[in-house]
Amino acid sequence: MNTAAPRIRLQLPADAAWAGLVQASAEQAGRVFGLDPAKSLRLVHCAEELLLFLASAETGEVEATLRPVATGVEVGFSFASAGVDLSALNLASDPGAGGEDGDWTSLPLLLASRMTDGFRVGLDGRRMEIVLRVDKAYPAPELLPAERLRPQGRPVLAEAGDAGALFEACSAIAGLYPAHVAPEWCLSPGRTADLVRAGELSAIEARDAGGRLCGIIFWRMRSERSVTFFGPYDFTGDGSMAGELVEALLRAVGRTSARNVFSSLATQPLADHGFELLAELPYLLADSPEPVVHPVWGRMLQEDFGAAAWTHEGFADFLRDRYDALELLRDLRPVRDLGEAVQAGSVLGARLTPGLSEVFLHPELNGADIGDNIARHVSTLASAGYRNIFFEIDLAKGWHAAMGGHLIRCGFRPELLLPLGGQSDTLIFRHAAES
């Protein structure tokens, strides 16, 4: 039996004449892969928008891929980047001469992104890739009542994967924890179960002798090098499960490719469990003007023998501080202007999660306009309503670090250092709306 996930591929010229083919494929893929008619229609619109956009950007031959993913359907377009002016593919591209007051939010890519549940654009080797995801419409069942309990006997930890158990866990989290530490997928337990089944999310639960759920912790790979976790959610009255859940997480990821682990949503201080406080990250929720502050607890999973990192004066002090606090030894190399020629148009990659009003930007291609490009992205995304804008660089790359000045000028502040999160350390900036 062939168990490989189905994948529909079309090879076609980026030409509006083929819009009908792309629409028809998306429509059928949506239906076969389990989207309801309304969601299928979205997929059709997104695919069409993307093709028309690529046609206008004259990308030549493209490959369109439709495939089922854990929670819905993904449609992606990719093409060889050689010979194409990639700067047109920025989420917020320069509207060109006479367009200074251009209404950037109406740009096709961003427009398409707003119909989706997830969107990313970036370079994969020598191919440019634009991928968007439309999720199934999940029911939002009434959650089970939850109360803190006293475990009978010594709880047993095990992987959680069963939809019923995850429903129970989502209910308990919603009932016992404030909303800002409950992961968004918790509100639709079916989605949680799909993510776990597909291996995009992992969970370890604790159950007592009576089979009652005493706690759970979730995590996912953020990249090949980083694991991020949610919890520990401890449903006991005396907080006796948290430590064991965190240990179980570390045992599970300790022998993987991940070099560090950090919290996306931490429920309690974890200093007593061998974690270090990496940041206190303000985060704007959809319905409130004031940010909540998420402490980020993390630790490395592997040994560190020192490394080199490029720095820029815009964040050198921050780095020195963090490296001292974490006892990391780094050869700091200040970037210098070498006067080398760069191409005109830069390209930024982006990952958007509309449901969280969250964007992660990262540099893909350097260019003379990189400062303007960052500014353009920020204003476009902000006017599109995105409230949490992050920018991520890899300190193994001098040209990433060299963007420090532009980032600071555009209102970004360094917030989170993830040791060896990429080729070298990853530095994450947050856009401070007030500046």
Binding site: M300, E303, F305, E327
Partner: protein, 369 residues
């Protein structure tokens, strides 16, 4: 023409995360501004090598280098046979016992097969299986941090080809006594090959610790691994061996690369076996003293510790093992973090010469007092 590797690599290789060795001492010392660096991370025996080996290496003729080594380490196997008892045809010598782990997996496993071992043990069994596309069934250690014989037996099925028992276990230093080993072998009842990895055999002084080479006559599916890297202090030369029934050794030999062990390594290993100096006794005394020093330090600090057999101990501290590794490296000591062995917040420390360990203990204390 861009190389599209993705299409060429099998899934199990693509997903495999390679082992990253630490940089050379000189580089670490430069980067960290250190005058000296003590490696307490690889369970080496820095007391060695033994006097006979030193003498041999000092007198080594350059003339042996242009000539291929014995492809099957014949002289060394002859010496092993004379020293340990079994026939020379029962021994197979490898480029470190790591190479033998790979050979035994290649000899017996195909995709769809599995191996059974523990979750918290030497990682190479699991790694070799995983990057060979073979499932590694990892059985949790029991409550006393020992390999769990019953749970391992329960995991054996008709696709199980190998069971790896690390005896004594790295990193916990726990071991199966002879009765437990026999009970396990009886339970397996010839359904799969059982590897007893005795890398630290020469360190164990317990009367109930089994010498598995003596069990070979009773259990034709048993394979015993030993190494010259640990007690004999020849880690840089890369030489280890296995001993099994002749038929089993023959099968593993088919999957094994001939000529993988170089001449100086073969010669040094022979010299080490034949050395009658008190080197091994002195090493054992050093390790005993090391255990005491670490025990005292842990007790003074109130830290949990596991002190078993082998030339290493484990310590649990209130900070992450990775942060502690960085702090210690800045102060000139390399230790092994145990998160990768699924013991988060524990470190493993190799038992070194007393002055070095004294210094280690004092630096270690200063971090927590």
């Amino acid at each position: 023409m861009p190389l599209n590797l993705e299409h060429l690599i099998p899934e199990h290789i693509r997903l495999f995360d390679p082992y990253r060795p630490s940089p050379p001492d000189a580089e670490l010392m430069r980067l960290y501004g250190l005058k000296r660096l003590h490696r307490l991370n690889n369970n080496e025996n820095t007391l060695g090598p033994s006097p006979a080996v030193r003498e041999l290496l000092a007198g080594l003729e350059a003339g042996v280098i242009p000539v291929y080594p014995h492809g099957d380490s014949q002289d060394l196997r002859e010496t092993l046979a004379r020293t340990l008892g079994p026939d020379r045809s029962q021994f197979l010598v490898g480029n470190g016992s790591c190479e033998l782990i790979s050979s035994v997996v290649k000899a017996f496993c195909e995709p769809g097969d599995n191996i059974v071992t523990a979750d918290k043990t030497f990682a190479v069994y699991e790694w070799v299986a995983t990057f060979s596309g073979v499932e590694a069934r990892l059985i949790p250690l029991d409550r006393d941090q020992r390999f769990d014989p019953d749970a391992m037996l329960a995991a054996v099925d008709d696709r199980t080809k190998l069971a790896f028992v690390c005896n004594p276990n790295n990193p916990t230093g726990t071991y199966w006594d002879e009765a437990t080993m026999r009970r396990f072998l009886d339970g397996v009842d010839g359904r799969c090959i059982v590897v007893a990895d005795e890398a630290y055999f020469e360190y164990v002084e317990r009367p109930d610790y089994p010498d598995c080479i003596r069990l070979l006559d009773d259990y034709p599916n048993l394979v015993v691994f030993r190494t010259f890297s640990k007690m004999y202090a020849l880690a840089a030369l890369r030489v280890g061996y296995l001993c099994a029934g002749e038929a089993v050794t023959d099968v593993i030999g088919r999957a094994h690369v001939a000529y993988s062990v170089n001449t100086p390594a073969q010669m040094a290993a022979r010299a080490a076996l034949l050395d009658r100096s008190p080197f091994i006794e002195r090493t054992r005394a050093m390790v005993r003293r090391g255990r005491e020093l670490i025990r005292e330090t842990c007790e003074a600090l109130g830290f949990e510790h596991i002190i078993g057999e082998g030339n290493y101990v484990m310590i649990r501290t209130p900070i992450s093992d990775t942060l502690l590794q960085r702090k210690l490296l800045r102060r000139g000591f390399l230790v092994r973090t145990m998160t990768g062995f699924r013991f988060p917040n524990w470190i493993r420390v190799s038992l070194e010469r007393e002055p070095v360990l004294r210094e280690f203990c004092s630096v270690f204390r200063s971090l927590f007092e």
